[in-house]
Protein backbone atom coordinates (compact mmCIF):
# COMPACT_ATOMS: atom_id res chain seq x y z
CA UNK A 1 0.00 0.00 0.00
CA UNK A 2 1.38 3.38 -0.97
CA UNK A 3 0.38 6.98 -0.44
CA UNK A 4 1.59 9.72 -2.77
CA UNK A 5 1.12 13.41 -2.10
CA UNK A 6 0.13 14.83 -5.49
CA UNK A 7 -0.72 18.42 -4.61
CA UNK A 8 -0.84 20.59 -1.55
CA UNK A 9 -1.61 24.28 -1.27
CA UNK A 10 -3.55 26.55 1.04
CA UNK A 11 -6.86 25.39 -0.43
CA UNK A 12 -6.73 21.62 -0.61
CA UNK A 13 -4.68 18.44 -0.47
CA UNK A 14 -4.62 15.82 -3.21
CA UNK A 15 -3.25 12.36 -2.48
CA UNK A 16 -3.28 9.06 -4.36
CA UNK A 17 -3.50 5.67 -2.71
CA UNK A 18 -2.42 2.50 -4.47
CA UNK A 19 -2.70 -1.13 -3.46
CA UNK A 20 -5.05 -2.97 -1.13
CA UNK A 21 -6.74 -1.37 1.86
CA UNK A 22 -6.82 -4.67 3.79
CA UNK A 23 -5.36 -5.38 7.25
CA UNK A 24 -1.77 -5.01 6.08
CA UNK A 25 -2.53 -2.08 3.77
CA UNK A 26 -4.24 -0.02 6.44
CA UNK A 27 -1.48 -0.82 8.90
CA UNK A 28 1.14 0.32 6.37
CA UNK A 29 -0.48 3.60 5.43
CA UNK A 30 -2.73 4.74 8.29
CA UNK A 31 -0.21 6.85 10.20
CA UNK A 32 0.95 8.72 7.10
CA UNK A 33 -2.64 9.08 5.86
CA UNK A 34 -3.80 10.60 9.13
CA UNK A 35 -0.79 12.87 9.27
CA UNK A 36 -1.26 14.19 5.72
CA UNK A 37 -5.05 14.46 5.72
CA UNK A 38 -5.99 15.56 9.22
CA UNK A 39 -2.57 17.07 9.97
CA UNK A 40 -3.02 19.63 7.21
CA UNK A 41 -6.70 20.02 8.11
CA UNK A 42 -7.66 20.84 4.51
CA UNK A 43 -10.26 19.39 2.21
CA UNK A 44 -8.72 16.41 0.47
CA UNK A 45 -9.13 14.59 -2.83
CA UNK A 46 -8.22 10.93 -2.41
CA UNK A 47 -7.41 9.37 -5.78
CA UNK A 48 -8.70 5.79 -5.52
CA UNK A 49 -7.85 4.75 -9.09
CA UNK A 50 -5.15 2.29 -8.01
CA UNK A 51 -6.94 0.89 -4.94
CA UNK A 52 -8.02 -2.65 -5.82
CA UNK A 53 -9.60 -3.65 -2.50
CA UNK A 54 -11.19 -2.04 0.52
CA UNK A 55 -12.72 -3.65 3.61
CA UNK A 56 -14.14 -2.16 6.79
CA UNK A 57 -10.76 -1.24 8.29
CA UNK A 58 -10.01 1.02 5.33
CA UNK A 59 -13.49 2.50 5.46
CA UNK A 60 -13.02 3.26 9.16
CA UNK A 61 -9.82 5.15 8.29
CA UNK A 62 -11.73 7.34 5.79
CA UNK A 63 -14.68 7.98 8.11
CA UNK A 64 -12.40 8.91 10.99
CA UNK A 65 -10.51 11.42 8.80
CA UNK A 66 -13.75 12.84 7.36
CA UNK A 67 -15.16 13.37 10.86
CA UNK A 68 -11.98 15.15 11.87
CA UNK A 69 -12.04 17.44 8.81
CA UNK A 70 -15.73 18.12 9.32
CA UNK A 71 -14.91 19.88 12.59
CA UNK A 72 -12.96 22.41 10.45
CA UNK A 73 -15.74 22.57 7.86
CA UNK A 74 -13.55 20.63 5.41
CA UNK A 75 -14.31 17.47 3.46
CA UNK A 76 -13.00 14.40 1.69
CA UNK A 77 -13.79 13.63 -1.94
CA UNK A 78 -13.10 10.09 -3.14
CA UNK A 79 -11.98 10.27 -6.76
CA UNK A 80 -12.41 7.51 -9.34
CA UNK A 81 -12.72 4.27 -7.34
CA UNK A 82 -12.73 1.01 -9.31
CA UNK A 83 -16.30 -0.31 -9.83
CA UNK A 84 -16.15 -3.07 -7.22
CA UNK A 85 -14.51 -0.72 -4.69
CA UNK A 86 -17.22 1.84 -5.40
CA UNK A 87 -19.88 -0.85 -4.90
CA UNK A 88 -18.39 -1.72 -1.48
CA UNK A 89 -18.26 1.96 -0.48
CA UNK A 90 -21.82 2.59 -1.58
CA UNK A 91 -23.05 -0.58 0.15
CA UNK A 92 -21.49 0.75 3.35
CA UNK A 93 -23.42 4.00 2.97
CA UNK A 94 -20.52 6.23 1.89
CA UNK A 95 -22.68 8.25 -0.51
CA UNK A 96 -24.26 9.90 2.55
CA UNK A 97 -20.86 10.65 4.12
CA UNK A 98 -18.64 12.01 1.34
CA UNK A 99 -18.75 12.62 -2.39
CA UNK A 100 -17.56 9.88 -4.71
CA UNK A 101 -16.64 11.56 -8.00
CA UNK A 102 -15.29 10.18 -11.27
CA UNK A 103 -14.74 13.59 -12.89
CA UNK A 104 -11.55 15.18 -11.60
CA UNK A 105 -12.55 18.74 -12.51
CA UNK A 106 -15.71 18.32 -10.45
CA UNK A 107 -13.73 16.81 -7.58
CA UNK A 108 -11.43 19.85 -7.64
CA UNK A 109 -14.39 22.24 -7.62
CA UNK A 110 -15.81 20.48 -4.58
CA UNK A 111 -12.67 21.00 -2.47
CA UNK A 112 -11.81 24.57 -3.52
Amino acid sequence: MELKLIHSDADYTHIALSGRLDIDGVKAVEMEFTSVVTGKGLSTIIDMTEVSFIASLGMRMFISAAKNLRTHNKKIVLYNPQPVVREALETAGFSALMTIENDFAKAQTLVQ
Partner: protein
Protein backbone atom coordinates in the same frame (compact mmCIF):
# COMPACT_ATOMS: atom_id res chain seq x y z
CA UNK B 1 -15.86 -29.62 -6.91
CA UNK B 2 -12.65 -27.94 -5.77
CA UNK B 3 -11.72 -27.93 -2.09
CA UNK B 4 -9.05 -26.15 -0.06
CA UNK B 5 -8.49 -26.31 3.70
CA UNK B 6 -6.08 -24.53 5.99
CA UNK B 7 -5.86 -23.23 9.53
CA UNK B 8 -4.39 -20.14 11.11
CA UNK B 9 -3.74 -18.82 14.61
CA UNK B 10 -6.40 -16.37 15.78
CA UNK B 11 -4.25 -13.25 15.45
CA UNK B 12 -4.38 -10.43 12.91
CA UNK B 13 -0.83 -11.24 11.76
CA UNK B 14 -1.54 -14.93 11.17
CA UNK B 15 -4.89 -14.22 9.51
CA UNK B 16 -3.21 -11.75 7.17
CA UNK B 17 -0.31 -14.09 6.35
CA UNK B 18 -2.74 -16.88 5.41
CA UNK B 19 -4.32 -14.85 2.59
CA UNK B 20 -1.81 -16.54 0.28
CA UNK B 21 -4.20 -19.54 0.43
CA UNK B 22 -7.01 -17.38 -0.97
CA UNK B 23 -4.85 -16.18 -3.85
CA UNK B 24 -3.91 -19.76 -4.72
CA UNK B 25 -7.52 -20.96 -4.52
CA UNK B 26 -8.75 -18.10 -6.73
CA UNK B 27 -6.04 -18.76 -9.31
CA UNK B 28 -6.61 -22.54 -9.40
CA UNK B 29 -10.35 -22.06 -9.89
CA UNK B 30 -10.12 -19.06 -12.20
CA UNK B 31 -12.50 -17.05 -10.01
CA UNK B 32 -13.86 -13.83 -11.49
CA UNK B 33 -12.44 -10.56 -10.10
CA UNK B 34 -15.78 -9.92 -8.35
CA UNK B 35 -15.81 -13.37 -6.76
CA UNK B 36 -12.20 -12.94 -5.60
CA UNK B 37 -13.15 -9.57 -4.09
CA UNK B 38 -16.01 -11.26 -2.22
CA UNK B 39 -13.69 -14.02 -1.01
CA UNK B 40 -11.12 -11.54 0.29
CA UNK B 41 -13.80 -9.38 1.93
CA UNK B 42 -15.63 -12.27 3.61
CA UNK B 43 -12.35 -13.75 4.83
CA UNK B 44 -11.01 -10.49 6.23
CA UNK B 45 -14.20 -9.38 7.95
CA UNK B 46 -15.10 -12.71 9.55
CA UNK B 47 -11.57 -13.74 10.52
CA UNK B 48 -10.57 -10.40 12.05
CA UNK B 49 -13.83 -10.38 13.98
CA UNK B 50 -12.95 -13.75 15.51
CA UNK B 51 -9.34 -12.71 16.18
CA UNK B 52 -10.59 -9.58 17.93
CA UNK B 53 -13.50 -10.85 20.00
CA UNK B 54 -13.73 -14.63 20.25
CA UNK B 55 -11.00 -15.45 22.74
CA UNK B 56 -10.61 -13.99 26.21
CA UNK B 57 -6.84 -14.44 26.09
CA UNK B 58 -4.01 -16.21 24.29
CA UNK B 59 -5.63 -15.97 20.86
CA UNK B 60 -2.33 -17.13 19.41
CA UNK B 61 -2.92 -20.55 21.00
CA UNK B 62 -6.26 -20.96 19.27
CA UNK B 63 -6.76 -21.85 15.64
CA UNK B 64 -9.36 -20.92 13.07
CA UNK B 65 -10.00 -23.57 10.42
CA UNK B 66 -11.02 -22.43 6.97
CA UNK B 67 -12.56 -24.50 4.20
CA UNK B 68 -13.07 -23.12 0.69
CA UNK B 69 -15.21 -24.87 -1.90
CA UNK B 70 -16.03 -24.01 -5.49
CA UNK B 71 -18.58 -25.90 -7.60
CA UNK B 72 -18.00 -24.03 -10.83
CA UNK B 73 -20.63 -21.40 -10.00
CA UNK B 74 -20.68 -20.66 -6.27
CA UNK B 75 -17.98 -20.46 -3.65
CA UNK B 76 -18.57 -21.59 -0.07
CA UNK B 77 -16.42 -20.16 2.72
CA UNK B 78 -16.62 -22.08 6.01
CA UNK B 79 -14.83 -20.96 9.15
CA UNK B 80 -14.75 -22.96 12.40
CA UNK B 81 -13.21 -22.14 15.78
CA UNK B 82 -13.57 -22.98 19.47
CA UNK B 83 -14.02 -19.40 20.72
CA UNK B 84 -16.93 -17.82 22.58
CA UNK B 85 -20.23 -18.89 20.98
CA UNK B 86 -21.18 -16.04 18.67
CA UNK B 87 -23.53 -15.89 15.70
CA UNK B 88 -22.29 -12.96 13.56
CA UNK B 89 -25.54 -12.90 11.57
CA UNK B 90 -27.48 -11.87 14.68
CA UNK B 91 -25.53 -8.62 14.81
CA UNK B 92 -27.71 -5.56 14.21
CA UNK B 93 -27.19 -3.72 10.94
CA UNK B 94 -25.33 -0.43 11.27
CA UNK B 95 -27.28 2.82 10.89
CA UNK B 96 -26.28 4.01 7.42
CA UNK B 97 -28.86 6.74 6.88
CA UNK B 98 -27.27 9.14 9.35
CA UNK B 99 -25.08 12.21 8.97
CA UNK B 100 -21.30 12.02 9.16
CA UNK B 101 -21.42 13.45 12.70
CA UNK B 102 -23.70 10.65 13.87
CA UNK B 103 -22.06 7.86 11.92
CA UNK B 104 -20.13 5.17 13.82
CA UNK B 105 -16.59 4.76 12.46
CA UNK B 106 -16.74 0.95 12.44
CA UNK B 107 -19.33 -1.77 12.55
CA UNK B 108 -19.88 -2.36 8.83
CA UNK B 109 -17.74 -5.49 8.39
CA UNK B 110 -20.38 -8.16 9.04
CA UNK B 111 -22.99 -6.08 7.22
CA UNK B 112 -20.75 -5.86 4.13
CA UNK B 113 -20.11 -9.60 4.27
CA UNK B 114 -23.82 -10.32 4.25
CA UNK B 115 -24.47 -7.88 1.41
CA UNK B 116 -21.79 -9.50 -0.77
CA UNK B 117 -23.13 -13.03 -0.12
CA UNK B 118 -25.91 -15.19 -1.55
CA UNK B 119 -26.59 -16.93 1.77
CA UNK B 120 -25.08 -17.22 5.24
CA UNK B 121 -25.41 -19.68 8.12
CA UNK B 122 -24.19 -20.34 11.65
CA UNK B 123 -24.23 -23.31 14.00
CA UNK B 124 -22.62 -24.12 17.33
CA UNK B 125 -21.87 -27.80 17.62
CA UNK B 126 -19.74 -29.73 20.15
CA UNK B 127 -18.09 -26.52 21.33
CA UNK B 128 -17.25 -25.30 17.82
CA UNK B 129 -18.61 -22.22 16.02
CA UNK B 130 -19.23 -22.97 12.35
CA UNK B 131 -19.88 -19.96 10.11
CA UNK B 132 -20.59 -20.48 6.40
CA UNK B 133 -21.08 -18.09 3.51
CA UNK B 134 -22.07 -18.87 -0.07
CA UNK B 135 -21.20 -16.26 -2.69
Amino acid sequence: MSLSEFQTAATFEAVSAATVNLDRFAEENNLSPKQKYCLDLIYEELMTNVAKYSFHSAAEKHFIRVQLQYDGTDCTFTMSHDGIPFDPWQQENPALDVSLDEREEGGVGIFLTRQFSKSVSYEYKNGINIVSVIF
